[in-house]
């Protein structure tokens, strides 16, 4: 309903109920979304894909951690069972606290997931008493104690639902809160009541795992998540205290170490480390972890969403140069995924084959027009005959049919691309000096960028491959055959058959080897014989040249022939299947290409933003008055921008008075006072105050600071100028 502003002043308008509703994820997605008509479908697709990626990475993570977690679990079990043994030697050294030093690498935020699964595993199969602490919550010994006790004794309340247990636990908790301190003796009492009860309690009532039952004294595990960040003295004291109780409490420590195990010796003196029985557990390095994630997530045809080379490069460089964090890498993929579905209306086609074929049929005219605008489609169009071109441009149904075919082609391309990529990697990764990279991701990047066969490194790799000995080549080819075997696409099956044929030919060579050796010998010997006769230097040179010629022209051995044939065949495979995705029609549907967006979001540059804001305020304020062509600052800009602009013109030291004068001139020009007017450039109180404020803001931002070198001057802290 339309009401004028007057009536608005008189009547109460209740805000409509719709506005109150909190926005769902989908609303956020469709807000400002390009091509809103199919945003729902895209949102759903995006979420499905993300869920898939998420579960896949979680499974991966579990698999990768399994080894180390299993050995850790064994360690804890062994320690707790060793306690219950009572042979002479283990009695003699019972005073040591078993400790696992878990080396996880420098990407500390990634460790959370590992510790979470470790925590759950321990609770399931070893002991209900697990507490994990972080350094930031344990600044002092008091706090560390409190956290450990709270987590050990509090966990029982939530896990155990026996009434009695709850009561006693509550009592102890209450006691804990009431008394100003908490000590391990409280824990001791609690633990002894717990174990006594569980040994007398009826086993039928228990719903915990059987491992807990056969063990009368489950160990108490304390996990220190970030060992390095702990205060050394706090840790030392804590260990000293614990060692006093080790005969009553079966304690066990796990140290999460980010750097190297020698930090334990740096942080703990011998008197403390002698109380521990430290065993080392090394986890997989994060680069290996990333390689697996890329292998399972990026280099597979099952995920229709793809990154182009630039985006991939940004994500990889953030990983390698900045944080080593696999979690952040996956977050980056997520960002790219959301951005892709948000900004690209044609991303409705970015899903599995059947679904995308259906979605093609449902494209409206608007979206078909978008397809016609695609760069890759234009390229495709040019190759068609004029009649077909016209039909494609005008007939929507025909376009849909063609699109279906193109989508099928795109899927086929992906199906063939990855096996061939892997084969090429297998062949080249064993070469000296790795012309095409050590890791498959490097080769992938090269292939994404441009035609790999035009790359110099590729040619040198091929030359090196032509020099391989037979057994090496055969093993490499065998591995390629293994890669190709499970692939179901037609072309790959054919390639596999061809490869097998080549391999059998290689094997047959052995039998035919004898005959060829003789003829070869003859051809080489003959020029050498002639060489012995000549003594003239010029003649010698001539003969040598001839020999060289003849060797080049010399008939190749059957192995060499076969080798060349094989490599030509591989080359043809590469040329057929490893063309960059840009060459594929409709690649925009699947490939996300805006690397700048990803970089801006993931690798923020605060200082550049500040400088951009100060030097071109229009960029952020979007006020038409501030718009200037040549990068200069308009007079109407905020005070701080003017002051900033003026200070750029100065040297290392800035005279405050000159600065003020210049500022006053600019501001009076903005107020519309011409140079001829009376108080042009005069400094009044208001201008003075505004100037002082701008200067102090610049100081706050770190561009200038006060100095004692010269009176009435400030020092610049940045270099360069206008």
């Amino acid at each position: 309903m339309a009401t004028s502003s007057v009536s608005k002043g008189c009547f109460v308008f209740k805000p409509s109920a719709k506005k109150k509703k909190t926005l769902s994820l989908e609303d956020y997605f469709s807000d400002g979304c390009e091509g809103a008509e199919n945003s729902e479908v895209r949102f759903k697709l995006c979420q499905d894909l993300w869920d898939k990626i998420k579960t896949e990475t979680e499974i991966l993570q579990d698999e990768l951690n399994r080894n180390i977690l299993d050995s850790l679990l064994d360690f804890t079990k062994k320690c707790s069972s060793a306690r219950q043994h009572s042979d002479w030697a283990s009695q003699m050294r019972a005073s040591e606290i078993p400790t696992a030093a878990l080396v996880l690498g420098v990407n500390v935020p990634d460790h959370d997931m590992t510790f979470q699964s470790l925590f759950e595993l321990l609770q399931q199969s070893v002991t209900p008493h697990v507490a994990s602490v972080q350094a930031k919550e344990c600044g002092a010994l008091k706090h560390l104690m409190k956290r450990v006790l709270e987590r050990l004794m509090g966990a029982v309340v939530s896990v155990d639902d026996e009434e009695q247990a709850e009561e006693t636990a509550e009592q102890t908790i209450a006691q804990l809160h009431k008394s100003a301190h908490c000590s391990l003796s409280t824990l001791c009492d609690w633990y002894s009541t717990r174990t006594r009860k569980s040994s007398t309690g009826t086993p039928g009532k228990k719903r915990s795992s059987p491992a807990k039952d056969d063990q009368q004294e489950p160990p108490i595990v304390v996990i220190f998540k970030d060992f390095e960040a702990f205060n050394a003295s706090v840790l030392q004291d804590f260990i000293l205290i614990c060692s006093r109780y080790v005969d009553r409490l079966p304690l066990l420590f796990i140290f999460g170490i980010a750097t190297s195990p020698s930090t334990i010796q740096h942080m703990l003196p011998h008197s403390v480390s002698s109380l521990l029985c430290i065993e080392l557990f090394q986890s997989l390095s994060c680069t290996q972890h990333l390689a697996t994630v890329i292998d399972k997530l990026i280099l597979t045809p099952w995920l229709p969403f793809k990154l182009n080379s630039k985006v991939m490069l940004v994500l990889l460089s953030i990983f390698l140069y900045h944080d080593f964090s696999v979690r952040n890498f996956i977050k980056g993929v997520q960002l790219a995924l959301i951005e892709h579905f948000h900004t690209q209306p044609l991303s409705v086609l970015c899903c599995n084959k059947e679904e995308s074929l259906l979605n093609v049929m449902q494209l409206n005219h608007h979206n078909l027009e978008r397809i016609r605008q695609l760069a890759s489609f234009k390229g495709y169009l040019e190759k068609q005959e004029p009649k077909e071109q016209a039909k494609l441009l005008q007939d929507n149904t025909h376009l849909k049919d063609v699109c279906q075919r193109l989508i099928k082609d795109l899927h086929k391309y992906h199906k063939n691309y990855y096996p061939i990529l892997r084969c090429l990697h297998t062949l080249t990764s064993a070469l000296p000096r790795y012309p095409l990279g050590k890791q498959i991701r490097e080769l992938h990047l090269i292939c994404l960028e441009k035609d790999v066969w035009e790359n110099e490194d590729y040619q040198s790799a091929m030359k090196l491959l032509k020099m391989l000995a037979k057994d090496e080549l055969v093993t490499l080819l065998q591995r390629c055959a293994d890669i190709l075997q499970p692939i179901k696409s037609k072309k790959m099956k054919k390639a596999h058959v061809q490869l097998e044929e080549l391999l059998t030919k290689f094997k047959q060579l052995d039998t035919a080897a004898g005959e060829t050796a003789q003829s070869e010998g003859e051809s080489i010997i003959s020029p050498v014989k002639t060489l012995q006769k000549k003594t003239d230097l010029f003649q010698l040179q001539k003969t040598l040249l001839e020999m060289n010629e003849s060797r080049r022209a010399k008939k190749l051995s059957p192995f060499e022939v076969l080798r060349n044939e094989t490599l030509e065949w591989i080359d043809s495979l590469v040329r057929n299947h490893l063309s960059p995705p840009e060459s594929q029609t409709l690649n925009e549907v699947c490939y996300y290409s805006s690397s700048a967006t990803v970089r801006r979001h993931l690798n923020a540059t605060p200082r550049m933003s500040i400088q951009a804001a100060l030097s071109s305020p229009y960029y952020y304020l979007q006020n038409e008055n501030l718009k200037t062509e040549d990068g200069s600052v308009s007079n109407a800009a905020p005070d701080i921008c003017i002051a900033y602009k003026l200070h750029l013109e100065c040297g290392r030291l800035i005279n405050l008075f000159d600065w003020l004068e210049a500022y006053a001139t600019v501001v009076s020009a903005a107020e519309g006072n011409g140079p001829e007017s009376e108080n042009f450039g005069k400094v009044d109180e208001v201008k003075h105050a505004r100037f002082i404020q701008a200067v102090s803001e610049l100081e706050f931002l770190g561009f200038i600071k006060s100095t004692k070198q010269k009176t009435d001057h400030v020092a610049r802290l940045t270099w360069g100028g206008c």
Binding site: P98, G105, H181, S260, I264, E279, F324
Partner: protein, 445 residues
């Protein structure tokens, strides 16, 4: 000095048992008992006992009080996070839970004295009460009034109570500036080799004869006595290596009495133990496993052998820059990092007092600006000053590769120190093909 077994006021039977339990400490125990007097007599207000680690201080106190059944409270000062827990512990052991719960939330010393007197009037001491404070050197860091008050607690609470302080540091380091009541000093000397032998032989393995075990201890002491006199450590080592010692015996190669052969068998093994398990390079558990494996497939790498740290590319350069900033004088930066610095010899830079190498003096603090300036000139490509560069600096701090010198609260121009050794930084710079030695002032020709 009276012998331990003839102290008036205590049953002879018990005293004999005490003597048995305290080998090589009869003298000290006897002295203590004579100072303590008979149970109902007032004792000296405070006794200070010092001796090195594992010289039997706590053990003597524990045995005396337990066997003679004297009322006592044993407090470890490490465990007392606050004075409150100390007071509570003392009240709890003398008067039970109700008394301890009377303490207010953050009790002062006078609260403690008040409650003690109140409780004490209800149940006055028939025997001397003892408070044993282990690791009392930590009391020096507590409130200034705590130590003097404890020393004359007898007067304060007007009760028959004695405070016994155990410490590894001599009394001279305790004495507060303001002066205080002087406690009775008692020194526990280190055990001699003979005494160690005697004590260690006590915990023999029941399946072997006493002579056999004592000959083993003799060999063990022969190897370890020169490096370690800590009874606890020696006992630990004895337990770990005994099975290896018995090995030839189990195989039937030698008899128990053939000491020389046994010695030849165990000696190299013990030497190896000295380098590994004694230094805690290898845990005792792994050591035992190594023994069981017989053949040494591969020498186990100790903890300090793992020094390699994988770092992101820019973190490595940040660390290198930090190292350079820490060990080079700031005025030489121009020479190292400007393109046209000219040839300036080291002597030109050297000031008179600057003779010692910077590596001997240790790392010097540097401001963040300098770190970044060096970083940008050291790293080979152009790097945008992104947020993650700065966050890498702070993560290097949490990894303890850098240390922040200025206070956390200081946002403006924080200062850092590089906390990695030369070997480490050399290894790091090798991985990025950076010749760090060329940039270090100390190694300049």
């Amino acid at each position: 000095m009276a012998a331990l077994s003839q102290q008036p006021g205590y049953e002879e039977e018990k005293l004999r048992k005490v003597t048995e339990l305290l080998p090589c400490r009869e003298l000290q125990a006897g002295f203590l008992l004579s100072v303590m007097g008979q149970p109902q007599q007032y004792s000296y207000p405070s006794i200070f006992i010092y001796g090195h680690r594992a010289s039997g201080k706590s053990h003597v106190m524990q045995v005396l009080f337990k066997e003679l059944e004297l009322p006592h409270a044993t407090v470890s000062c490490v465990e007392c996070v606050s004075v409150a827990s100390l007071f509570e512990h003392v009240l709890l052991s003398f008067f039970g839970y109700e008394a301890a719960s009377l303490l207010p939330r953050s009790p002062s010393l006078s609260d403690f004295v008040r409650i003690y007197r109140q409780q004490c009037s209800r149940s006055p001491a028939k025997q001397t009460r003892y408070i044993v404070m282990e690791k009392s050197e930590l009391l020096r860091d507590a409130d200034a009034n705590l130590l003097p008050a404890l020393l004359r607690l007898q007067e304060l609470v007007e009760d028959n109570i004695t405070v016994i302080l155990l410490s590894e540091i001599s009394w001279d380091k305790f004495r507060p500036n303001t002066g205080c009541f002087e406690p009775l000093l008692l020194h526990f000397p280190d055990y001699s080799k003979v005494e160690l032998q005697q004590i260690l032989s006590l915990d023999r393995n029941p399946s072997y004869s006493a002579e056999f075990y004592s000959s083993y201890i003799n060999i063990l002491l022969g190897v370890f006595y020169s490096v370690c006199r800590d009874l606890r450590e020696l006992r630990h080592l004895a337990a770990l290596n005994f099975s290896k010692f018995c090995e030839p015996l189990a195989e039937g190669k030698v008899k128990e009495t053939d000491t020389h052969k046994l010695w030849r068998n165990i000696e190299p093994h013990l030497k190896k133990a000295m380098q590994t398990v004694y230094l805690r390079e290898v845990s005792s558990h792994q050591w035992e496993q190594m023994q069981q494996m017989e053949k040494e497939a591969e020498p186990l790498r100790g903890l300090s052998a793992h020094t390699h740290v994988e770092l992101p590319y820019y973190s490595k350069f940040l660390l290198i820059a930090a190292y350079l900033a820490s060990y080079n004088p700031a005025r030489t930066d121009k020479r190292f990092f400007l393109k046209h610095h000219g040839k300036i010899r080291k002597t030109h830079f050297q000031k008179k007092n600057e003779k010692a190498s910077n590596h001997l003096l240790g790392p010097k603090p540097f401001p963040l600006d300098r770190l970044l300036a060096i970083f940008y000139s050291v790293v080979d490509s152009r790097v945008a000053p992104t947020a993650s560069i700065f966050s890498q600096i702070s993560s290097l701090v949490t990894l303890q590769l850098l240390t922040q010198v200025s206070h956390d609260d200081q946002l403006d121009a924080p200062k850092y120190k590089c906390a990695v050794p030369l070997d480490f930084i050399c290894a790091i710079s090798r991985t990025v093909n950076f010749d760090i030695v060329k940039y270090l002032y100390d190694f300049l020709q």
